[in-house]
Symmetry: C3
Subunit: 155 residues, 3 copies
């Protein structure tokens, strides 16, 4: 019987946007049945336009930086944009797939996408902002699927 | 046989305080046996008084903001309090339960709460600060429960 | 049959470096088979020299501080070093094991360490920087192990 995986995707920054999409598309390509529940900031990953997804060099002393950077510099205007642009260019140069490509790979391999209706309401997102073909649901519905999975991750 | 869920709750900010309490109370209301192990900043969720639980707009470019806000502004004095107050008022306006209400729902549905003794000692918390009816234990005890669960999440 | 646990370790700051190493060494000491996949900032935990692992007081309103500290102060030069040094001295004073000790305990109890080759390339780490005796692999290989575990955590 095929393995099953459930992922709860709660983060929306450029770095932590990768793990749910990489793990979901990889598992689906192995023939697993996969569903991802997008909640809190994770909803950002369902937006049609992913170009706003950014990364912050602040409060992450573990981020490898080309030059050591004091906190005071990290918070200067433009540093978030600069870190995002540096990370994106590194991702491209290294041949790593973009978020858009990984999301498409998930859709092609029939990963199920569910948007958390409660946080859609809380953050006042409109369904127009999201890609088509997604379900809307709550924690109870998702847990029923999660309870029968082999791997369930909170990201 | 009833499903089982184990949650390791390590975060104590207003946003990431919600997922363990929502998931635990939802699963318990479905008839699951649920235990939550509070460790590191997650211990904040066991304090009698939850009014200090705050949110930071810093280093979270994925947080939906009413107006785009440069990092330099996010770190001005009072912005953490302002973001916390905005989030709390949005939660209330949208009819989402408060942390206190969710915690009570967990207790009513017999979710087991365990405080990590090692981090209680490390952060010099006193048991007086915590609500009654919780257990104190270590990772080994918790893992024995977790090893027999259907869903185990690290939040 | 022995229980199995898989951990995906993605964080590299001093606080969140602890959970994968504590949980892995504890489970292994209970006789579980454990593998840890280090990816993104989690790769920092495989470096020979762990002395750079730091903690940031920024954007973490849940961190218990000896005195309340406004955000403006948290980002002054030297505050990251000060928070790191305070945390390390507290860890030592309370008799909690250091990261080096926990990592050695993992190795002694035969926890399997796998470095994510994709993020090694992305962050331009060199294998020379890492400890010996680790494997290098990708998400697909790791998921095959994870699919047969009793507990699988994303940290």
């Amino acid at each position: 019987m095929a393995k099953k995986m459930a992922i709860i995707a709660t983060k929306g920054a450029l770095d932590m946007a990768y793990p749910p999409l990489i793990l979901a598309s990889t598992a689906a390509s192995l023939g697993w049945e996969v569903k991802v529940f997008f909640t809190f900031y994770g909803l950002q990953l369902l937006r049609k336009d992913l170009s706003d997804i950014a990364i912050s060099p602040l409060a992450n002393p573990a981020m490898p930086m080309p030059v050591p950077m004091p906190v005071m510099v990290s918070m200067l205007p433009g540093m978030e944009a600069m870190a995002t642009s540096m990370m994106k260019s590194k991702i491209k140069k290294k041949g790593v797939a973009s978020l858009e490509e990984l999301r498409s790979a998930c859709i092609e391999t029939e990963v199920g996408f569910i948007a958390c209706q409660m946080t859609v309401d809380l953050f006042e997102f409109s369904r127009d902002q999201f890609i088509d073909g997604i379900e809307y649901g709550g924690a109870a519905t998702f847990l029923k699927f999660a309870g029968d999975t082999d791997v369930c991750l909170f990201i």
